[in-house]
């Protein structure tokens, strides 16, 4: 028996040399993903801090500007994203049980729901464009709030835009996961790529869970 063959039989092909076992490797990947997510929390945290300060300074302008957002579309999108988190969780579940077809189905469903979210988001962006609510020289708003409403809409576009970028990246990750599920890289023993992709997807969902009330729901009662 050649050394290569002996080596290949010694451990699972997905096990990297510096780990003792797949179990240990999986724990390390989970931890690594969480460390990355901490940087993401603080990345979005800076934007949330900016939002907090300006809303504190100009509460009336923020409430008036927030009122211009479509709460129905925002709510529908929240439901779409929560549903995509469910399909993602079920994809991880299927991966852990080695149910390849079910895993691929749930990955595709997750991607479709992500695309629906982005579609609805682009409809909203289009409405804002038509209504002249894009910050800049063409911005139109009630005269007393025109300056500070631009701050709200700047934050709205930056925060939802960066969130949407994360969704696009997420769909890209799901495509790779779909490929790996299809070609047999993902098995019952080696499901951690699906698990950590799931962590990323759920994180993006959590960002939206905070964006939705802060952008769409403030001052809803006052107008």
């Amino acid at each position: 028996m050649s050394p290569e063959v002996a080596h290949a039989e010694a451990h699972h092909p997905a096990l990297a040399h510096h780990f003792d076992s797949l179990e240990q490797q999986s724990e390390a990947t989970t931890l690594g993903m969480w460390v990355f997510l901490v940087t993401e929390v603080l990345f979005f945290g800076g934007l949330f801090a900016t939002y907090m300060i300006y809303r504190n300074w100009y509460p009336d302008a923020f409430a008036a500007a927030s009122h211009e957002l479509d709460v129905t579309l925002g709510t529908v999108n929240t439901v779409v994203l929560i549903t995509s988190s469910l399909t993602m969780a079920l994809a991880v579940h299927a991966a852990q049980l080695g149910q390849r077809k079910l895993l691929m189905t749930f990955l595709i469903l997750t991607m479709i729901l992500g695309a629906v979210f982005l579609g609805i988001k682009s409809v909203e962006y289009y409405h804002k464009f038509v209504e002249h609510h894009i910050p800049g020289p063409g911005f139109q708003f009630e005269k007393e709030y025109v300056r500070h409403a631009q701050l709200f809409f700047s934050l709205y576009f930056v925060m939802t835009g960066l969130h949407a970028l994360h969704m696009i990246i997420g769909i890209g990750i799901m495509l790779v996961m779909l490929w790996w599920s299809w070609n047999g890289t993902i098995t019952e023993e080696y499901s951690s790529p699906i698990e950590i992709s799931g962590l990323y997807w759920h994180f993006v969902d959590i960002v939206w869970i905070f964006l939705f009330p802060l952008l769409y729901l403030i001052g809803r009662h006052a107008h």
Binding site: L31, W34, G45, S191, H202, F210, P213
Partner: protein, 97 residues
């Protein structure tokens, strides 16, 4: 591979709670509660985020080291927001001095 495979009904239950919380937060937003509107919205959002982290992201069943990292993110976010506020909220104090 993974040591903790949750039964599917856990995911369905969390999903149902998340949907109910979304309904609740939208309904509350249309009532005039003053400052409590923001408090309620953030409380519901934090609750939703917590159950997503614990169950969808399996942190409830993860190692202590993962727990430490997750709590660390909340802690550092807290520092970011609290120290920023400690500046901006106290600037008006100068007018009394």
């Amino acid at each position: 591979m993974s040591s903790h495979i949750l039964p599917k009904r856990v995911y369905y239950t969390i999903f149902a709670i998340l949907l109910f919380c979304t309904y609740l937060t939208v309904q509350i937003a249309f009532l005039d509660l003053g400052v409590l509107n923001t408090v309620a919205a953030l409380a519901i959002a934090t609750f939703k985020a917590t159950i997503v982290v614990l169950f969808f992201m399996h942190v409830k069943y993860s190692t202590r080291l993962t727990w430490a990292v997750v709590l660390g993110s909340v802690f550092w976010l807290g520092i970011l927001l609290a120290l920023t506020l400690s500046d901006y909220l106290t600037r008006v104090w100068r007018t009394y001095g």
